[in-house]
Amino acid sequence: MGMTITEKILAAHAGKEQLTPGELISIPVDLVLGNDVTAPLAIQEFERIGVPTVFDPEKIALVPDHFTPNKDIKSAEQVKVMREFAKKHKITHYFEIGRMGIEHCLLPELGLVVPGDVVIGADSHTCTYGAVGAFATGVGSTDLAAAMATGEAWFRVPETIRFVYYGKMRPWVTGKDLILYTIGLIGVEGARYAAMEFTGEAISDLSQDSRFTMANMAIEAGAKNGIFIPDAITKEYVQGRAQRSYQFYDSDPDATYKEVIEIDVSQIEPQVAFPHLPENSRGISQVGDIPIDQVVIGSCTNGRMEDLRVAADILTGRQVAPGVRLVILPGTQGLYKQAISEGLVEIFIDAGAAVSTPTCGPCLGGHMGVLAKGERALATTNRNFVGRMGHPESEVYLSSPAVAAASAVMGRIVGPCQVVGKGCQG
């Protein structure tokens, strides 16, 4: 009986020939991840287990990225707990400020997650790594604690929903638009407990950065994981980075799917998700007149080179609208440096943007761009829940970096065509 890529990766780790959805398995993990919000709690629970050492100091990644550089004393104390734990247990992959990045940008960039891996992270956007053909899923702090002690985690083998994207993408449409459209189609619990497998001719041409964006937001449809079949684009990304040997898996032609959903991408405009759920997405032509106070470009969803380049393309020779604040956060130190060497940071600063060291900061209303009561932001982040970016009476709209940059220039939510005018239909 055929298996999906998700089933094959899990079966390989379970030492089984065959797995079917619904089976409960306890399997070894290739990497476990924690950040400054989730790791301190995991460390406390790890101590309760009572083992003297972690299962493998090279298979744990600790990334202080949420409230860092430390925004207040309590945050500093949390990171201190991580730092001391990392030192005590000789954790190889602890990333200090100045070397860290947003975890889901950083770990693939450094080749610490590779195709065929099973990765758990105490962060819901751990599903990002499905973009390189790994099984990766978010868990809580206690799961992280147990995995740090035992090297294993339990899973219920998920059913898979296959998404087939076909047709030619319109100008300015990116992975962010495909995933916002998809979540709008199936809803925030449309893939609850399931694997989302992203396939089709439109995907085979899709950049690695756009794939990260799509896999990243699988959780916003309730999915356990999002995954791409690794190909030449994956290979180009991982070779030269991979810190371990890797394996490409593919779904069998006779694999069983819970559902197959076909999507004609030629019908998809740049998307905007309205408050207060990512499923409230609509095409840019249906947005109407929505003035904004702040724009954020960055995060684990859209803080990579493709994102920064498209923003710079639109911002070149233009200015952020009066009364609008534009915050741009490259996802890692490596990306930040590359953005400087490509001249992007100069373009951003000339346009009137604030450019910062990597942090999750504003995405979760932590720091570096918190909203006041009644303010409205357009962000390239992943969630627009009530109070997500600050005051409970503020609003967050979600979009691609192209829409975000164009909107920063106009002071209201617009498509790139309204600013740049090239290669556009409307």
Partner: protein, 171 residues
């Protein structure tokens, strides 16, 4: 231990973890500091008016969003005895089992209950009774493996047991 009785607080569909415990309070993992902010962005009065033993009722997809275990921790710390919902987001579900917060998936109980109703809950049997409506419902049953984790008081107790650090998962 398994028979609960409490007053109901009804919340809607897609209650996300930012609503359960906003990220602005996540610079600590101390449950006593989280509790006063529990459900703050869904109902600012909740944390001040909830009584120990009360029950949260959610609609579909309760606990969607982030992986923050602070969400079930805050609910537990504010004194809520049990969460009943039509369905749970998977990480919240997993975290609740792992930290020993009783949760039940029971569509009928969740759809029928009104804020202020009093429910009794038999956790072992998954039986929910709405005393105001004189109705009884059967919740989804946990797989045996999860029952073992629940029996051990959560994942840490279970891991201690499997590593031979405790004799019985019930201990």
């Amino acid at each position: 231990m398994t028979q609960l009785k409490g007053k109901v607080w009804v919340f809607g569909d897609d209650i996300d973890t930012d609503a359960i415990i906003p990220a602005r309070y996540l610079n600590t993992s101390d449950p006593s500091e989280l509790a006063p902010h529990c459900m703050e962005d869904a109902d600012p009065k909740f944390a001040h008016q909830v009584a120990p033993g009360d029950i949260i009722i959610g609609g579909k997809n309760f606990g969607c969003g982030s992986s923050r275990e602070h969400a079930p921790l805050a609910i537990k710390a504010v004194g809520v005895a049990c969460v009943i919902a039509e369905s749970f987001a998977r990480i919240f579900y997993r975290n609740s089992i792992n930290i020993g917060l009783p949760i039940l998936e029971c569509g009928a109980a969740a759809q029928r209950a009104r804020s202020g109703d009093v429910l009794t809950v038999d956790l072992a049997k998954g039986i929910v009774t709405n005393l105001a409506l004189h109705e009884t419902y059967q919740a989804a049953v946990f797989p045996p493996f999860m029952q073992e984790i629940i029996g051990a008081g959560g994942l840490i107790g279970y891991v201690r047991y499997t590593l031979g650090k405790e004799k019985s998962p019930d201990g």
